[in-house]
């Protein structure tokens, strides 16, 4: 819990930009890969952060609200930023009609990302479900690059909904597990048994998860068992992306205090094993990220 006086963000340094579409293509099931030319975003992004994307052409009024989009991958040399999105409603359907050469309006990067801590001795487990895998990719890649051992789980409805294996491989991550509803392998209890068996001798020191409240509960159990840190990235409807509209918070009238803002205090929150709840990143003393 925080009150409504959120501290000014220390990690966000957003810019407004018209980003040229480099690629926008379906990669299976309802998922689309969007590559944008957004050099400043590519330069400033940190794992777990997101951009607000407005999918309107000049003169178009709909969709009125920008969409928060996790930054899947970026390259500060080319200035390219990669986003994976699921076509689930009018807004994302409209986004899928944008062709290379057209421009999308972006505001970002924003949000508090993951805190990986020092890589030395880190054994990282990332557990993503569906589109939630997107916010985990850059963190997994960064950790692997710095020498951490990384184990990943990608959970999806069916095999054609899986999209991350190739990207994980390109980041040098080979301990990759996929589970799907269609194959009957995605049940959290079953996954828990698999992970306990697989990681028993070298349990993770840090777990990151996104995309499923059931998997977040599973990760909470595993974090307790293994005495591992756990960070969860949360999704929410948003309007401003900066913290002033309070559209992404969840109120608690009885307390008289406003809940944390997903856009500004999150989207990544840290599990607190003493309360079995989540707290805002950076509210506990820890070694800063190297």
């Amino acid at each position: 819990m925080t009150d409504v006086l959120s501290a000014p963000s220390t990690t966000s340094n957003p810019v407004l930009a018209a980003a040229r579409v480099i690629q926008n293509r379906n990669i299976g099931d309802r998922y689309w890969q969007l590559v944008l030319e957004a050099p400043t975003v590519a330069e400033r992004s940190k794992p777990g952060q997101f951009v607000m994307l407005s999918a309107t052409r000049p003169g178009e009024l709909d969709p009125v609200l920008p969409r928060p989009m996790a930054l899947y991958d970026w390259d500060s040399t080319s200035g390219h930023v990669e986003i994976i999105y699921g076509v689930v409603g009018r807004g994302t359907h409209h986004l899928s009609t944008f062709h290379p050469g057209e421009e999308l309006r972006t505001m970002g990067p924003v949000g508090q990302g993951f805190d990986l801590g020092p890589a030395a001795g880190t054994r990282l487990l990332v557990v993503g479900r569906g589109i939630g895998t997107c916010s985990l990719m850059a963190a997994a890649a960064d950790a692997a690059l710095q020498g951490a051992h990384v184990t990943t789980v990608e959970s999806a409805r069916e095999p054609r909904s899986l999209f991350a294996a190739e990207k994980y491989a390109s980041k040098g991550i080979s301990d990759v597990h996929t589970v799907t509803d269609a194959e009957g392998t995605s049940d959290p209890d079953q996954l828990a048994q698999t992970l306990r068996g697989h990681l028993a001798h070298h349990p993770p020191t840090l777990i990151l998860t996104c995309g499923s409240s059931r998997l977040a509960s599973l990760c909470m159990q595993l974090a307790d068992e293994w005495n591992a840190r756990l960070q969860v990235s949360v999704e929410a409807h948003m309007a401003c992306g900066l913290g002033y509209c309070h559209g992404c918070s969840s109120g608690r009238r009885s307390s008289g205090l406003e809940g944390p803002l997903v856009c500004h205090d999150g989207p990544v929150f840290e599990y607190d094993p003493t309360t079995h709840g989540y707290t805002t990143m950076g509210t506990h003393t820890r070694t800063p990220q190297q």
Binding site: N13, P14, V64, A239, C240, C245, G247, S250, G251
Partner: protein, 311 residues
């Protein structure tokens, strides 16, 4: 023979709202703005800054979901979370007053006295004006919105006017049968201007789950979808009162702003458009001089209410 080209007549964007003069008629709508935008746009260029509605006590907002998108608009039931007076004075207001633009504080209350207590508490601060958000439930009158009862509006306005030398604006709710009567009540209470209007009550349903999408079930509709209705309300109120009208409701562009001015608004507020295009207000300010010149006007005041009656 060369015909000398007359120099372009300078355009004066300034507007006067009671005792307050603004450099231009463009300001944000309360709730759709925060000093966080200072990272992205030049807030010193806005005619004024308008805070989120402040209540005397600290309070939370509504349960999730607080937002939903609608065709050409959005629904919100944020519920106006507030840090209370102490937090507002120490942490929120200084972030607004650090910019050069005049600051208008939006005031809420669950009773008439709460509005007045907020004004008493803040009257020592560097504030340009107060805007009373009367779309709040009056807990002393069974929860009915203060803004739906002309007598309540007149009383809350009069009490506010008595407590400060700063101009009092009253932001009217559109969810009434006769907005002109409410506007006249605000004028009778001593309001320096009325803001027309707030969001329209609405809802949206998830048919698979058979539940309302908003955690609060109902919310307020804003955005371009409400522009024709808001414009009509501005037109109606501007004919009913002698005080300036601040137009608000779905303004996304310079041409939208001109429509509101022609309908009778002296100034305009931009709300929902800022979410998708944070630079909207700055673009309107940039484009107004040329738009005025194209209509052979040199001052914003000449534009206000310049609608020509149909033949």
């Amino acid at each position: 023979m060369n015909v000398p080209v007359p120099p372009p007549r300078p355009v004066d964007l300034s507007v006067t709202l009671g005792s307050l003069t603004l450099a231009n008629p463009v300001m944000p709508a309360s709730g759709c703005f925060g000093p966080e935008l200072g990272d992205l746009i030049a807030l010193d260029r806005l005619g004024a800054l308008v805070t989120k509605t402040i209540f005397y006590d600290s309070r939370s907002g509504n349960p999730a979901h607080r937002l939903a998108e609608t065709p050409g608009g959005m629904l919100n039931s944020v519920g106006i979370p507030s840090p209370g007076m102490a937090g507002f004075r120490s942490s929120v207001l200084p972030r607004y007053t650090s910019f050069d633009s005049p600051v208008i504080v939006s005031v809420g209350g669950l009773s008439q006295h709460e509005y007045w207590d907020v004004i008493d508490n803040l009257d020592d601060q560097p504030i340009a004006a107060f805007e009373l958000n009367v779309s709040c439930p009056n807990l002393e009158k069974g929860g009915l919105e203060i803004g739906t009862d002309p007598r309540e509006v007149e009383e809350v306005t009069r009490g506010a006017v008595q407590r400060t030398r700063r101009p009092i604006f009253v932001k009217l709710t559109p969810n009434v049968t006769r907005i002109d009567e409410i506007a006249k009540a605000a004028e009778a209470g001593g309001a320096a201007a009325v803001t027309v209007a707030n969001t329209f009550v609405g809802m949206q349903i998830d048919i698979e789950r058979r539940t309302a999408i908003l955690g609060n079930t109902i919310g307020g509709v804003s955005g371009p979808a409400i522009k024709p209705m808001a414009l009509y309300l501005v037109y109606t109120v501007a004919q009913a009162v002698g005080i300036p009208v601040i137009g608000c409701g779905g303004i996304c562009s310079t041409s939208d702003a001109l429509e509101f001015l022609m309908a009778g608004a002296a100034a305009i507020q931009v709300g929902t458009a800022t979410f998708g295009r944070p630079e909207t207000m700055i673009q309107i300010i940039d484009q107004l001089p040329e738009a005025f010149a194209a209509h052979n006007e040199t001052t914003a005041a000449h534009f206000t209410g310049s609608l020509v009656a149909a033949a």
